[in-house]
C-alpha cells in the first residue's frame, strides 16, 4: 500500500497484474498434463484443485480431479459421495450452464480410496489370485493400507499415475492430504516400498541355516519379546504378511520409481496453496524450499482466504482518525452520536486495512520465494464453497480474465 497512489490508480494496476496472473495460470493449465495441489491443512487444496480442473474443462480439455476427503457438500456437488476407483463424468450443465466451454471440454472426478487403490496394486503385482487374496485378507495389510502414515499420500500419487497412463485425460489434477512438508508425499512411494521390503524383518524371520544361527538366536529373543509386548497374534499377522508379500517388492519398487519420474516430468506442475498467515506462509516457504531442493519448482502459488482490501489512505491514518473521533464523541452535544458512529466505522476500516496490510506482507514473502511463477490471490468468500456457482466465483478469482 503506497501513499503516493490514489485509490483508483492502485485498483487499476492491481487489476492489470491480476489479469497477467490469470493468463499465466491458464497457460500453465494448458501446457501441463499433471497438476499437484499441495500445502498445509485446511488452506483450500481440495477446493482450488476442483476449481482448476473445472477451469481446464471449460477451456476445452478433458480433465479429471482426484480429490481427497472433500467436505461432504463439495463431494455431493462433484458427484463423488462414495469412494471410488473410476472417475465419474460430471454433467456439463452443472459446470457450464451457459454452454460457453470450448469444444472437447469434459470434467470428471474421483474420490481417492487408498485401500482399494492399494488392493489393485497388490492384484496387479501378485503372482496369482491366491497370493493377492492371502495379502488382502491379512490384518496387518489392512492396517497398512488404511492407517499407515504415507499410504494415502502414496495412493494419491499412484492414482495420478494410473490415470496418466490410461491416457484418457488431457489433464489430471491431484489433491493431496494435509502435510507439513513436501517429502510427506514425494517420498511416500519410496518409504512405503522400503517398508514393504521389510528387509530387517525378513532377516529375522528367515529360517535358520548355517551362519545365520547367531542372528537367529537374537532374532528369536527379539520376536518373543515383541510378541510379549503386543500379543502373539499381532506378530503372526506381521510375519505372515511379509511371507505372503515375498516376490512382489520388485514390482512395487519399479512402480514407485515410475511414479517418481512422472512427478519430476516437465509436464507436471506443483501448485502451492497457502493462507496469508505468518505460520501458514512459513510452512509454505519450507515446502517451496524442499521442492526446489529436489528440482521440482513451484509452478504457481495460490494465496487463499484473503481479507478484502479497501483502498484509501494508510491504516495508521485511518486508525488515528478513529481515535480522534472517539475522543470527540466523549463531548456531549450536538452530533455526538454521529461522531461515535463515524468513529466506529473508521476503527472498523482501520482493522481491515491492518489485516490486509499484514496479509500483503506475508504474500510478498511467498512471492519472493517463487520468483516469476504466478501467484493468485483468492478472497475469502464468506460462505463455504460447495456448489458449482461458488466454484465458478472462485474460478473468476483464480483465473481472472480481462472482459473482452
Amino acid at each position: 500500500m503506497s501513499s503516493g497512489h490514489t485509490a483508483a490508480d492502485g485498483a487499476a494496476s492491481d487489476l492489470a497484474s491480476a489479469y497477467d496472473t490469470g493468463e499465466a495460470l491458464t497457460a500453465l493449465v494448458r501446457r501441463s498434463n499433471t497438476l499437484v495441489f499441495c500445502g498445509s491443512g485446511g488452506v483450500g487444496k481440495t477446493t482450488t484443485a476442483a476449481v482448476a480442473t473445472m477451469h481446464a474443462a471449460r477451456m476445452g480439455l478433458s480433465a479429471v480431479v482426484v480429490t481427497i476427503d472433500p467436505a461432504r457438500r463439495l463431494a455431493q456437488a462433484l458427484g463423488v459421495t462414495e469412494l471410488g476407483d473410476l472417475p465419474r463424468l460430471i454433467d456439463p450443465h452443472l459446470w457450464d450452464p451457459d454452454g460457453e466451454r470450448a469444444p472437447g471440454g469434459s470434467l470428471a472426478a474421483v474420490m481417492l480410496d487408498a485401500k482399494s487403490t492399494f488392493d489393485n496394486l497388490v492384484q496387479k503385482y501378485s503372482a496369482g489370485p491366491e497370493q493377492a487374496e492371502r495379502i488382502i485378507d491379512n490384518r496387518f495389510y489392512s492396517n497398512i493400507s488404511s492407517a499407515l502414515s504415507g499410504t494415502q499420500e502414496y495412493m494419491a500419487m499412484e492414482k495420478l499415475y494410473e490415470l496418466h497412463e490410461e491416457g484418457e485425460y488431457d489433464l489430471v489434477v491431484v489433491d493431496t492430504p494435509p502435510s507439513r512438508n513436501a517429502l510427506e508425499f514425494l517420498d511416500a512411494p519410496n518409504r512405503l516400498t522400503r517398508f514393504l521390503e521389510g528387509r530387517a524383518f525378513r532377516v529375522l524371520t528367515a529360517p535358520a541355516r548355517g551362519g545365520m544361527r547367531v542372528i537367529n538366536r537374537a532374532a528369536r529373543l527379539f520376536l518373543r519379546t515383541v510378541s510379549r509386548v503386543l500379543g502373539s497374534e499381532v506378530l503372526e499377522d506381521v510375519v505372515e504378511f511379509f511371507a505372503a508379500f515375498e516376490g512382489m517388492y520388485e514390482g512395487f519398487h519399479e512402480r514407485a520409481s515410475r511414479v517418481r519420474e512422472l512427478l519430476s516430468s516437465e509436464q507436471t506442475a506443483f501448485v502451492l496453496v497457502a493462507s496469508p498467515r505468518r505460520d501458514a506462509i512459513e510452512e509454505a516457504e519450507y515446502f517451496a524450499e524442499e521442492l526446489a531442493a529436489m528440482s521440482l519448482p513451484v509452478a504457481a502459488a495460490v494465496v487463499n482466504r484473503l481479507h478484502p482490501r479497501f483502498h484509501t489512505s494508510l491504516a495508521e491514518a485511518t486508525r488515528l482518525r478513529a481515535e480522534g473521533l472517539a475522543r470527540d464523541s466523549d463531548d456531549t452535544g450536538d452530533g455526538a452520536t454521529a461522531v461515535a458512529r463515524l468513529s466506529d466505522l473508521y476503527a472498523n476500516l482501520a482493522s481491515f486495512q491492518e489485516v490486509a496490510f499484514r496479509e500483503e506482507a506475508q504474500l510478498e514473502r511467498l512471492r519472493k520465494l517463487i520468483g516469476d511463477a504466478p501467484l493468485a490471490r483468492v478472497p475469502f468468500l464468506g460462505d463455504d464453497v460447495h456448489d458449482f456457482a461458488t466454484l465458478r466465483l472462485l474460478e473468476d478469482n483464480l483465473f481472472p480474465q480481462e472482459p473482452t
Partner: protein
C-alpha cells in the same frame, strides 16, 4: 434450584482436558488461553504439546519446548510428549531399553506401529495418564495433534483393545480408555470456527465422542467477527454533516464497504453459531477474531479473560 455460578476451573473440572479440532482452527491458541485463564484462578496447569512444533511456546515468547518441563507463565508449565519419546520411556519402564534400540536401529518402529495401529497415540495418552496420576498438576491441557482426526486420536484406545489381546500395551490401552471415559479425570474441549463445514464436522465429532463415552466440557467457537450495522454512503454523509467534519467521497465509500463486509461476515457467523447451538446442547465459549499482528502473550491474556468471563455466565450443572 440454586443457580450455581460457573468459573473457568469448574467448567474444566477434570484433571486432563484435551483440546481438539481440525487443523488450523486455533487449538494451540485456545489451549494456551485456557491454561492462562485457569492459572489466573489459582490452578497449577501443565500444557502438553504432542507435536513438538514450537507454536505453543512461541505464543508465550519462550524457546521451543522439550521433553523436560519448563515454566511458560506463572502457574503454567509446558512440555512435549511425542510418540517416539513416549515409546522409549514405555519400553524403559518395562526394562526393555534394548528392544527400543533394536527397533530403532532396524527401522521397525513403523512396522510395530502398523501392527498395532493407534499405538503411538496410546503411548502419548499413556504418558499423559502417568503425569495425571502423579498429581503434580491440577489441570493438564493437551493440545491435540492437528494431523489426523480427533476421533482417531481419542479412539486409539478402544481400537487397540480390540486388536491386542495381551501384554503391557493392552494394559496401557485399557488404562487410557479408563482415563478418557471418566469425566472426573478427563474431558474434551472442541475448538471450531463459525463456518459451515467446521460446524458440521464438530457436531459429528461431538456425537461420536458421546458414543465413545468421552465427555465434552465445552465447545470453543474461535475467530468471531464483531457485529455492526450495514450503512450507505448517505448515512456517512449525513453523520459527517451533523458532526461538522469532512469525509472525502472515496473514504466514505471505503468506510461503507468495510462496514458492510463486517456486517455480512457477522451475519453468516451468527447463522452458523445458531446451527451449532441447535445441534449441540453444550456450553459454548465464543472467542473474538483478533485483528492484531501475530498473536503473543498480550493477545493470549485477552482471550484468557474472555474465556473466564464467558465461563462465569454459563449456568453450572446442578
Amino acid at each position: 434450584m440454586l443457580r450455581e455460578v460457573m468459573d473457568l476451573p469448574s467448567l474444566l473440572d477434570s484433571r486432563v482436558c484435551i483440546v481438539s479440532g481440525k487443523g488450523g482452527v486455533g487449538k494451540t491458541t485456545v489451549s494456551a488461553a485456557l491454561a492462562l485463564g485457569c492459572a489466573a484462578a489459582g490452578r497449577r496447569v501443565l500444557l502438553v504439546d504432542v507435536e513438538g512444533k514450537g507454536g505453543l511456546s512461541a505464543l508465550f515468547g519462550a524457546s521451543p519446548l522439550g521433553y523436560e518441563t519448563t515454566t511458560l507463565a506463572p502457574g503454567v508449565d509446558g512440555r512435549v510428549v511425542t510418540p517416539d519419546e513416549a515409546l522409549l520411556e514405555f519400553l524403559a519402564d518395562h526394562n526393555l531399553t534394548w528392544l527400543s534400540k533394536r527397533l530403532q536401529s532396524m527401522n521397525l518402529i513403523d512396522v510395530v506401529a502398523s501392527a498395532a495401529p493407534g499405538i503411538k497415540d496410546i503411548l502419548v495418552l499413556g504418558k499423559v495418564k502417568q503425569i495425571e496420576r502423579s498429581g503434580a498438576y491440577d489441570l493438564i491441557i493437551v493440545d491435540a495433534p492437528a494431523a489426523g482426526h480427533t476421533l482417531t486420536f481419542l479412539g486409539s484406545a478402544q481400537g487397540l483393545l480390540e486388536a491386542v489381546r495381551v501384554g503391557p500395551v493392552l494394559t496401557q490401552a485399557r488404562e487410557v480408555n479408563e482415563l478418557l471415559t471418566d469425566p472426573a479425570r478427563c474431558k474434551v474441549v472442541l475448538v471450531t470456527l463459525p463456518e459451515e463445514t467446521p460446524v458440521n464436522e464438530t457436531s459429528e465429532t461431538a456425537d461420536a465422542l458421546v458414543d465413545m463415552g468421552i465427555q465434552i466440557a465445552a465447545v470453543v467457537v474461535n475467530g468471531w467477527y464483531p457485529g455492526g450495522p450495514s450503512v450507505t454512503v448517505e448515512d456517512v454523509t449525513r453523520d459527517a454533516a451533523s458532526a461538522g467534519i469532512v469525509v472525502p467521497e472515496v473514504e466514505a465509500e471505503s468506510l461503507v464497504e468495510a462496514a458492510n463486509f463486517r456486517a455480512m461476515r457477522h451475519e453468516l457467523q451468527l447463522h452458523q453459531l445458531g446451527r451449532l447451538e441447535d445441534l449441540l446442547a453444550l456450553p459454548f465459549i465464543v472467542l473474538p477474531f483478533l485483528f492484531t499482528a501475530a498473536l503473543g502473550r498480550e493477545e493470549l491474556d485477552v482471550l484468557a479473560a474472555e474465556c473466564a468471563s464467558q465461563a462465569a455466565t454459563l449456568e453450572g450443572a446442578a
